[in-house]
């Protein structure tokens, strides 16, 4: 009897396990999230580019149902109903966080990129009407042109981001704005320090670890952006600085190695292999040579007392 209970419990767990996997719950506040500006054609276009690079491999081309059906859960066609029923906020959350086989694009794509993808996906839905969130009031006067500049302070060994605003040809530092700093990696970005607020002089200061590996010259690609890009806009600044540790490791395929091409195989393995093969085959040929001698001996006459048979 106990066995049946165990089976029952196991199957119940299995069912719950499956259903837990099949839902994708999005927090309420995230669900209601909206973009601050209306989608434009140029947003759709750049969204299409990002989509082709990051999403197409699993989701296929929207509207053509050529997604990778072998994956479980099925990725589905973004132009389909299942996708379009989502609110903009839900789409934004799902792209950012990912689930199971869908990777998280939080650090791989900027918020603007994600909004552009949504703009692109929505362009396949003729009944879609976009809602935008209301603009939040800030202490920066309307019409101010914001600009960011990244620099390295060699005295204090810190990275500084200067935020300035230009209104009517007068440029002033802007304080009290939260800025985050990222360093580019192979996939996604690495956040440097925590998000910092600009001071009265418009400078946000990030501590810097000199051990961070750069390229062969020590270059590191830095990116600064607003934490609240919904409020201050999608402005970001990128700069390459020679502040990383030069990474001068030779390429892995440079010297002789097991994983390299046959011409760059380790010497010991070339000598060991060819040596063993040669030795064995020399003896084999020696035996074959003996056969020739046996054949030749057949022509010799045998004296009567030597006769065996």
């Amino acid at each position: 009897m106990r066995r049946y209970y165990t089976t029952l419990i196991l199957s119940v767990c299995a069912v719950f396990g499956l259903s837990a996997q099949s839902t994708w719950s999005v927090p309420q506040d995230q669900k209601e999230k909206l973009n601050t500006i209306e989608f434009t054609e140029s947003m759709e276009k750049s969204g299409a580019d990002v989509f082709a690079g990051k999403c197409k491999v699993c989701h296929g081309v929207p509207g053509q149902n050529n997604f990778n059906a072998l994956l479980n859960p099925s990725p589905g066609d973004p132009a389909g109903d299942k996708f379009q029923k989502n609110t903009d906020g839900e789409l934004f959350y799902k792209i950012s966080e990912g689930r199971v086989t869908m990777p998280s694009f939080k650090t791989a794509l900027s918020k603007d990129d994600i909004w552009n993808i949504i703009a692109y996906v929505r362009s396949f839905n003729p009944t879609y009407v976009q809602e935008t969130s209301e603009k939040i009031e800030t202490n920066i006067p309307e019409g101010t042109q914001l600009a960011m500049d990244i620099s390295y302070n060699t005295d204090k060994d810190v990275v500084e981001v200067l935020l300035t605003g230009t209104l009517n040809d007068i440029t002033n530092p802007v304080g009290g704005v939260n800025i985050k700093l990222m360093a580019q990696r192979y996939f996604g970005n690495l956040q440097i320090d925590e998000a910092k607020s600009t001071n009265k002089r418009g400078i946000a200061t990030f501590s810097w670890n000199k051990e961070l590996p750069g390229d062969s010259l020590g270059n590191i690609e830095l990116m600064a952006s607003f934490v609240d890009s919904d409020i201050y806009g999608p402005l970001s600044s990128e700069k390459k600085l020679v502040i990383g540790k030069p990474n001068n490791n030779p390429p892995l395929n440079k010297g002789r190695a097991m994983w390299n091409t046959v011409k760059k195989a380790p010497l010991w393995i070339i000598i060991g292999y060819t040596g063993a093969v040669l030795i064995v085959w020399i003896f084999i040929f020696y035996v074959l040579f003996s056969l020739k001698n046996i054949f030749a001996l057949g022509k010799e006459s045998i004296s009567e007392d030597e006769k065996l048979i």
Partner: protein, 448 residues
């Protein structure tokens, strides 16, 4: 042995030659048997033609389990082929004389199985027409190239070890005017290399075979050790083991011994050679099988008890599958019926009589085949990479009908080669059996 002078007992030679040469020749029964095998083989070749046309998609192999029944079967064939080395090389060089009547049968098995092993690998290739690329673009760092090299070398040495001691026998058959068709006489003439029983010819023959006996030992060790490395150089559970080389090698001795017992039992009865393949020979073969079983059991103990004691994360999953999971029946059958029970009952003399030993060997060889399946497939089903949410048929391997037929075809091919060789040439070395025992030889020094 190369130094000693050979002497023949002429009466003995007469009798042996008559007895051994009598069953030769392609008689009616043999033709029926070969036609049956040919028809079966054609069916299997048809299955292969489908695979050749459609590709490996017709097999049960997918991305995750990319080595299936073919590789398991390949390991089995290589293992069985090793018996030639065990009998002629190891036991022969140790100076044991009782192996004389079975040396040639062991070599036939070695040649047939080594030859077919190469073909089995080709059947596992998606593009067999690119076989030459293995040699042209092979990487010296890859065990696959080493394997191709040693399988070829072992096949050549085994063939020489089969053909060389055959030369005097072919000359004896010719000299005695043994009746045979013209084409067969031609082969006998060609392969007897102008043999006139010249004492110098015997000296050369002894020297050559002795050299090959020594050479075949490292080559055979290499062939099966490299085959085990194909698996063991991966860090996957079940393969990631330092004893895989000797584990495979000792397993090969068990498989090969069982194959030899089965073949010897067959020739003893259908060739009416009871006088030479007698009960005492079976007793000795039984003892040798017992010995290799004990050694193999020891390696099994190490191979399974040590990881099962530690139960490392991934090993635990693997061992669970083997011990109580979906491979449990196959695993315990091969371990208990194919190894442990034979090992125990062979301790008693009545079980080393021909018929019981034959039945035990059948169990051992079936168990050995299943064991190779157990070694290859369960590990493939549990990769380290966190692969999730794949379709079920990618994860769970089950061989398809086509795959099974191609595998059966390889076994048929092996049996066909053995059948032809055994009907074409004497299965017992006539001249070695008729050799006069050297009375002066010190009986106590057995080792080389």
């Amino acid at each position: 042995m190369s130094g000693h002078n050979i002497k023949f007992n002429k009466e003995k030679l007469d009798k042996i030659a008559t007895d051994v040469l009598k069953p030769l020749g392609f008689n009616g029964a043999f033709k029926v048997w070969m036609s049956f095998l040919t028809v079966a083989l054609l069916a299997c070749l048809y299955a292969y033609s489908i695979q050749y046309r459609e590709g490996l998609i017709v097999t049960g192999m997918r991305d995750m389990v990319s080595w299936g029944m073919y590789i398991a079967n390949f390991v089995f064939f290589v293992a069985t082929a090793l018996v030639g080395m065990l009998i002629s090389g190891v036991i022969g060089l140790l100076g044991y004389k009782w192996i004389k009547p079975i040396t040639r049968i062991a070599e036939i098995i070695a040649v047939a199985f080594a030859a077919v092993a190469g073909l089995v690998i080709v059947s596992d290739m998606g593009r067999p027409e690119r076989l030459l690329h293995v040699f042209m673009y092979g990487r010296v760092q890859s065990p696959i190239l080493w394997d191709v090299t040693v399988v070829t070398t072992y096949l050549v040495i085994s063939t020489l070890l089969y053909l060389l001691p055959l030369i005097p026998d072919l000359a004896i058959a010719r000299g005695r005017g043994h009746e045979m068709p013209k084409w067969q006489a031609k082969i006998y003439e060609l392969l007897s290399f102008n043999w006139t029983h010249h004492p110098k010819q015997y000296q050369l023959l002894f020297k050559s075979t002795r050299l090959l006996f020594i050479l075949v030992i490292p080559t055979a060790f290499a062939i099966h050790t490299v085959t085990s490395w194909l698996l063991a150089v991966n860090s996957r559970s079940g393969w990631d083991s330092t004893i895989f080389g000797p584990y495979f090698l000792t397993g090969a001795f068990v498989t090969g011994m069982a194959a030899v017992v089965i073949a010897v039992f067959f020739f003893r009865n259908s060739y009416k050679l009871r006088e030479y393949l007698d009960d005492s020979l079976f007793d000795k073969m039984g003892k040798l099988l017992e010995f290799v079983c004990v050694v193999y059991f020891y390696f099994n103990l190490n191979e399974f008890v040590v990881p099962a004691y530690k139960m490392k994360e991934f090993d635990a999953v693997h061992i669970h599958e083997l011990f109580v999971g979906k491979h449990a029946i196959m695993f315990w059958f091969s371990q208990i019926c194919g190894l442990i029970i034979p090992m125990i009952i062979l301790l008693w003399k009545p079980f080393r009589k021909p018929v019981p030993l034959f039945i035990i060997s059948l169990f051992v060889i079936v168990g050995a085949w299943l064991k190779r399946y157990i070694i290859v497939i369960p590990t493939m089903e549990h990769p380290f990479l966190p692969i999730q949410n794949l379709p079920n048929e990618w994860i769970v391997y089950s061989p398809t009908v086509i795959e099974t037929m191609v595998t059966i075809g390889s076994i048929i091919m092996g049996v066909m080669i053995i059948s032809v060789l055994a009907k074409l040439f004497p299965v017992i070395p006539i001249w070695e059996m008729a050799e006069e025992e050297d009375q002066n030889e010190d009986k106590t020094t057995k080792i080389i």
